[in-house]
Amino acid sequence: MSLRAPWIGRTLLYLLAFAMALWVIVPVYFIAIGAFSTPDDLYKYPRELWPHHVSTGALSFFLHSTGTIAALERSVMVAAITLAFSLAVGVPAGYALARFAFRGSDAFRLTIVSTRAFPIMILAIPLSVTFIRWGIDDSLVGVAIAHTALALPFAVLTTSSVFAGISDELEEAAMTLGCSRAEAVLRVILPLALPGLAAAAIFVFIISWNDVFAASVLTLRHRTLPAQVLTASGEAPLPYRVAGGFFLLAPSLVVIFFIRKYLFNMWGRVVK
């Protein structure tokens, strides 16, 4: 009995992992094959597990629907602005948290985390009112600001742990060799932090790309892609919905796949 116990534990672990993987992969798979099926296959029941007639019809239908391209452009813009805002504030804040012991740094850290405790639903009304007052309602910048608020805690905390993981002595060594602190950060710390910062940046991008709630509340005519798909999906035919879903899903998948590879490959495992 005692000999079998670890074997059972392992089996359960793998079963659990397998179940969790299925939980993620099955919907992704159906959306993906749906997006590449002909409309006839899509409406067939029972659903085919392998697309026999590969077609880009659904995707092209989705892309050529009114407003899709414009919404896509807006989504990219909003994500890019969010990225710029989040990194511009998050990287220096993360560096400061990691390197300098200042009064109240723990409280600051806690405050950052606690901002995530306010659901965006509660903030939506006051945020809309404020944005209208500022004249940035229904604008890309407005959405980007809301997205920055969502992404910033994440950006600050991850970049701070990235910097904390890089030895101070490297920075100090650069300084004794003739660098100012800024030069030391630029020449030594940033290159070493790059994989971690890239990860943070990509996640920020995805947070913005995937957000549907803030975008739906804060925009009316200038919808981002998720908001656009959500609005349209009520009336739109199945091919549109499946293709839209795939289109929103694909960048996240590709990006995570590449960033994972990048993280593992960069300088082996020496970056501690």
Binding site: S167, E169, L170, E172, A173, A174, M175, T176, L177, G178, C179, S180, E183, V188, P191, L192, W267, G268, R269, V270, V271
Partner: protein
């Protein structure tokens, strides 16, 4: 090339006084060791000199220049860190060239200098590798090469050998000493390892609680510690300190120890004070029969160390470490007689622990 002067330097971290009004002068080309246990302020003093810590009081001079307010990069120092701090994203070549590039040297000069210092520390074949692809000992050499490449005025070393294994450390110790002799650069070397300190330095500054307890040549620090702290910290085993008092009896003096009485030809200033008699293990000869001016002791433990046997003996109330011949194996409990080498005795005040200056002359008769 330049000397270094610490002028009443203090550094305070919160409530901890890391270095307290330290003054120290280091000559041009000198190899000085800052020795002390962790927390004694030796690394802080080094970091103040490097400019990595801002001093709270006092001034620091390098080659006569007041560098107290200069950033590290403008002090013309180079530092080898305990963790080596080799840049992981650069090849060894780029690591060594880093300081030279910051000095805007020409490509040709950089190449020539990198190759020559790499040869000096025997890593010339590894220059296109990354730090992750070499051993710890080699990384240590990279850190060293990077530091000497810039031809700084002063080389600072923070426990550079502490991360190496024992055998490699001993090899590197000798190699470093030879290298520094060749370079002739003023070097300040921090260590907690008293063997390293004794074997490498021109002078040793022994630190304790943020102050320098003694600065002297290794032998002087070893033979004539300034107080019981230095005598106990430097040397293995630590110096023996026996409770003693000295009384005058007309012609000379008598030293009363708990284990017996010794005649000595001492100085009058010892008379009537509460004293410690300090003596090194190897300055005590062990005899197997009673004789003139000897102290009787009982053997407690015999530790054969190869080159000699270390005896722990009890003389009256005092426990002593004594170095005896490697073939001498007395039974525990057996009596031996100790002969204290004249001229090797250090007298210290029992109250303050401070040495009494008259020492070397106050010899046994």
């Amino acid at each position: 090339m330049a000397g270094v002067r610490f002028d009443h330097v203090s550094k305070i971290f919160g409530k901890v006084v890391a270095t307290n009004d330290v003054s120290l002068e280091v000559d041009d080309g000198e190899f000085i060791i800052l020795l002390g246990p962790s927390g004694c302020g030796k690394t802080t003093l080094l970091r103040c000199l490097a400019g990595l810590e801002k001093v709270d009081a006092g001034r620091i001079f390098i080659g006569g220049r007041n560098v107290t307010e200069l950033p590290p990069g403008r002090r013309r120092i180079a530092m080898v860190f305990q963790s080596y701090a080799v840049f992981p994203h650069m090849t060894l070549y780029d690591n060594i060239a880093f300081g030279l590039k910051m000095q805007k040297e020409s490509k040709a000069t950089i190449k020539e200098r990198v190759e020559s210092v790499a040869a000096l520390v025997h890593i010339e074949d590894l220059l296109d590798r990354y730090p992750a692809q070499i051993s710890g000992g080699q990384r240590q050499r990279v850190a060293l090469a990077r530091a000497i490449a810039t031809k700084a005025d002063v080389l600072l070393m923070d426990e550079p050998l502490s991360n190496l294994d024992a055998l490699l450390r001993m090899e590197m110790r000798a190699e470093l000493k030879a290298l520094f002799r060749e370079l002739g650069t003023t070097t300040i070397y921090v260590t907690h390892d008293q063997v390293e300190a004794l074997s490498m330095g021109d002078r040793i500054a022994v630190m304790k609680h943020g102050v320098i307890a003694q600065v002297d040549t290794p032998l002087a620090v070893y033979d004539y510690p300034s107080d019981t702290y230095v005598g106990g910290f430097v040397g293995t085993p630590p110096m023996n300190f026996l409770v003693a008092s000295v009384e005058g009896n007309g012609a000379g003096q008598l030293a009363r120890l708990s284990g017996g009485t010794l005649r000595l030809d001492g100085s009058a200033e010892l008379v009537g004070r509460d004293l410690f008699l300090g003596i090194r293990a190897e300055s005590i000869a062990v005899e197997t029969a009673p004789g003139d001016n000897l102290i009787r002791a009982a053997v407690v433990v015999v530790e054969p160390l190869g080159s000699h046997n270390l005896l722990t003996v009890r003389a009256g109330e005092d426990m002593l470490k004594v170095a005896a011949d490697s073939h001498f194996f007395p039974n525990p409990g057996a009596d031996v007689w100790l002969r204290l080498a004249p001229g090797k005795i250090r007298w210290l005040d029992r109250e303050t622990g401070q040495a009494i200056a008259a020492t070397p002359e106050a010899a046994l008769v």
